[in-house]
Amino acid sequence: MAEFCKISFPGSDFVPITLECHQSLSEHLTIQNSPVLFGCRTGICGTCLVEVIGDISPPQPDEQEMLETLAANHPHARLACKLDVTANIEICKIELSD
């Protein structure tokens, strides 16, 4: 397992951010340094719905239930506030109306 993880935002002008493994994204990413808007920050509201490419653990049942409602057609959709980051990942914003 990597000690540090690089969070990249392809398709945007935001520069990558390096975090220690298991650090909470909602404590380090803001709308000013990433394309992610964090709303409730507890995996309920869906404002931080993103597409994630990289090696991450699968969603827990609560997150899965929200993902099925918010983005049933996106196989890589995740809620950024619930991610346990353990490797380099790429994050893109998903528009809810998609």
């Binding site: 909602s26 404590e27 808007l37 409730c40 507890t42 309920i44 409602t69």
Partner: protein, 401 residues
């Protein structure tokens, strides 16, 4: 109502009932005794009154702890006002949503939220009053219960006419939104923006409990911050679903509805225009705080003379500091977050979509305002010994104790 929207509402309501934190909050507050946690921080250190200002730099460890606790007291006193208004507008909006299919689910959600707000108000006031009584023997940041039309922020730059006009506008909005589904939904745009700002700060406050080495032994106010944060997550979610999704089930707004909706959001920008060197994360107009900070500095906690207290305040409020930079940074993050939150609402005016009113504030503008207003304050006599002021505070205190 579209199936996905209904499903979102259903998940939000069901989970909020299952994970309701009000019982835990009520229980915690019943057990609150200030003496049990008076010697420890209740928030992360950077969330202390006047953090990063000359006062903070000069304070002893004991005084820093008090400043940390006073941040909690002052911050949640503000939240009390916001929640009083929320209870009222939840009801008027619920009436306006009557014309919506599946309105019952939304109204049941709002009823649950209002009940939670009442528990939050009780928790914040019980703790804050006990703290201020123990520290000062009087109210400073805590105030008697108010109606929903009283200013939810501290405004020193208002006057009787402006206060009256704002009250009339709020009353009128309550009246028409109770009979208009679009405006009832639009209320949740404003509520969403306000809660979005709250989450920026409350997430950090709640982390203090979540990351405490022994959460069960954490100070009760820190637990309350966490319980509140969790309840409010559901409230933010219902604001988002109603203002972003339910609104799409309605006919496009009329010119009048657009006007009222935009005026509401412009008012919200006005409310969120200021940032405070004393309290990071609240849009308080600092000249309105001068009297309160003065009382804190003249109290037995700081024991400053009249001259020393005013000089310290001059340095804290009229000069640039790390604390001011941090508050401005939070203000900028809030503004940028609001822009993204409202970007898909096509009925909004450009100046509401880009939050241009909020954007005109800056550190230099803040300092210019303080330098102008502080002179007037500095030239006043010793407020601490004013008979009228003492009398007023006694009466205020009696009405809440």
């Amino acid at each position: 109502m579209e199936k996905t929207i209904h499903r979102k509402l259903q998940i939000n309501h069901t989970r909020n009932k299952q994970q309701d934190h009000t019982v835990l909050m009520d229980e915690a507050v019943t057990n609150f005794r200030y003496e049990d946690c008076q010697n420890e921080y209740w928030n992360p250190e950077e969330f202390s009154l006047l953090y990063g200002t000359p006062l903070w730099e000069q304070s002893t460890q004991h005084q820093r702890i008090i400043l940390n606790q006073l941040y909690w007291v002052a911050y949640y006193s503000q939240i009390v006002s916001a929640e009083i208004a929320t209870i009222f507008f939840n009801q008027t909006s619920a009436a306006g949503l009557y014309a919506q299919e599946d309105f019952r689910l939304i109204c049941d959600t709002l009823d649950l939220e209002s009940a939670q707000e009442r528990s939050h108000i009780n928790a914040f006031r019980t703790i804050a009053k006990q703290v201020e009584q123990a520290l000062f023997g009087e109210l400073i940041f805590t105030y008697p219960m108010r109606g929903p039309f009283t200013e939810t922020m501290v405004y020193a730059d208002t006057n009787a006419l402006k206060t009256w006009w704002k009250k009339i506008q709020l009353q009128y909005f309550g009246l028409i939104s109770a009979n208009n589904t679009f405006l009832a939904c639009q209320y949740f745009t404003v509520r969403g923006v306000r809660t979005l700002n709250g989450k920026l700060v409350q997430h950090k406050l709640s982390n203090y409990y979540q990351k405490h080495p022994h959460p069960e032994a954490a100070p009760i106010p820190a637990k309350v911050s966490y319980y509140h944060f969790m309840d409010e997550s559901f409230h933010f979610n219902s604001s988002t679903i109603i203002s972003h999704d339910v609104i799409t089930c309605l006919k496009p707004p009329t010119a009048f509805e657009r006007l009222v909706a935009n005026l509401g959001l412009l008012g919200c920008q006005r409310d969120h225009f200021h940032f405070s060197a004393a309290i990071n994360g609240i849009f308080w107009y600092d000249p309105a705080l001068y009297g309160k900070i003065y009382r804190v500095l003249r109290s037995p906690i700081f024991e400053m003379s009249e001259m020393d207290a005013k000089e310290m305040m001059r340095r804290c409020f009229t000069e640039e500091s790390e604390g001011l930079q941090r508050s401005f940074s939070t203000h900028q993050e809030a503004m940028k977050s609001y822009q993204v939150y409202v970007e898909k609402l096509d009925y909004l005016w450009e100046r509401n979509r880009d939050m241009s009113l909020m954007a005109t504030n800056s550190i230099s503008r803040y300092l210019a305002t303080q330098q102008r207003d502080f002179q007037g304050f500095e030239n006043q006599g010793d407020l601490f010994l004013s008979h009228t002021e003492t009398q007023r505070r006694r009466e205020e205190w009696k009405s809440v104790v």
